[in-house]
Structure formats: structure tokens, C-alpha cells
Symmetry: C2
Subunit: 106 residues, 2 copies
């Protein structure tokens, strides 16, 4: 996992912050599969993810239509339902317009 190489703004970010339930079988395979599927969606620009107590996954998208396309992707819908039912004790999704970006890479 590294820093996503996103284009110049504007573009969109979805910040997904979650607290997991105790070890639920199948979580890792589901998470890997969702990353694989998201990367195939039109308008996907990249993602970053880390878990340390709280989990934070930020995915980047060309526009709102791309985010909506991912939200209603069939297999992702099942994962969202399982997430509410089993994997997470809490989560928050924030849809954001990235207005400015800067930083450095050595």
C-alpha cells in the first residue's frame, strides 16, 4: 500500500472509516475482492488504506457518477449489507470534492 497517484484536482474522494467486529471469517477475502472490483470501475483513480484500531480507506474517483456506479455495483451491494450485519460495529462514509492537493515524493 502506498500513496495514490491521483491527477490534479478537482476529483472526488470517499473516506470510509470503520470499526470492525471481532474476527469474522471471510473479512479479508471480501476486502481484497472489493479492492479488485473497485479498480475495475469506470472513473476509479486509486485508493489508500490503513487499519490501526480504526480503519480508514480513502478511494479516489473522477466524479460523482463514478462513485454512484461503484455504490450500486451488485457484488459491492452484498458486501455493504454484510458489512452492516456482521463485519463492522460502526462506519461512516464521507463523499468529498478534493479542491486542492500538494505534497512531495523523494
Amino acid at each position: 500500500m502506498s500513496i495514490a497517484a491521483t491527477p490534479c484536482p478537482p476529483y472526488y474522494a470517499v473516506i470510509f472509516t470503520s470499526l470492525r467486529n471481532e474476527e469474522e471469517p471471510g473479512y479479508g477475502a471480501m476486502a481484497d475482492r472489493m479492492v479488485e472490483l473497485a479498480a475495475q470501475q469506470p472513473g476509479y483513480l486509486g485508493h489508500e488504506s490503513a487499519r490501526e484500531g480504526v480503519g480508514i480507506t480513502v478511494s479516489y474517483w473522477e466524479n460523482l457518477d463514478a462513485i454512484l456506479g461503484w455504490k450500486v455495483q451488485t457484488e459491492h451491494l452484498f458486501a455493504q449489507q454484510a458489512g452492516r450485519d456482521r463485519w463492522y460495529s460502526a462506519y461512516q462514509v464521507r463523499v468529498c470534492l478534493v479542491e486542492r492537493a500538494y505534497g512531495f515524493f523523494i
Copy 2:
């Protein structure tokens, strides 16, 4: 660390994604101090943070003025310089308008 209890949108998020250099003394103390200082800034709404290979810290703010106020806070300026010089091999800052938010807490 938990999920930040932010108000209804719109508000702002700053996504700070970083790759650390190998253990640099003083990093933990600096990071703790920055969290303490940020929380004292006008317009601060909360933050979420996790590191797992990549580090992701998302801070939430009432508006762009609050973000600018934090960016130019004196002690934070020194930390930004030290970050570029020593602590990070790469980082990216993304300033975002949070347009929608949803989720659940049990």
C-alpha cells in the same frame, strides 16, 4: 482512536497520507503534540488516524479559514519543515469539501 463525530455536511476534510522514514527519534512526541494543538484550533471538528505501511490522518474543519489557520500555526510550521526534512519520505495533503456523509453506529 475512533470515528470522528462530525456535524452534518458541508464541512472540510484534510486527508494527510504519508510514508515514514525509518524510525526517527521524536516522531511520536511530535505527532501527539500536533494532535493536541490541532484540537485547540478554532474550527477543528475532529480527526481519525491509522498507520499500516502508509499513514492516513484525516482532520475535519468547519471551513477553509480554519484549515489555513492551522496550516500557519507557528509550532505546526516547524513540524511541517521537520516532516519534509526527516520524518517522511513522501506525503500528500488533500483539501476536500465534504458534501455528503452517512453511516451507522450501534
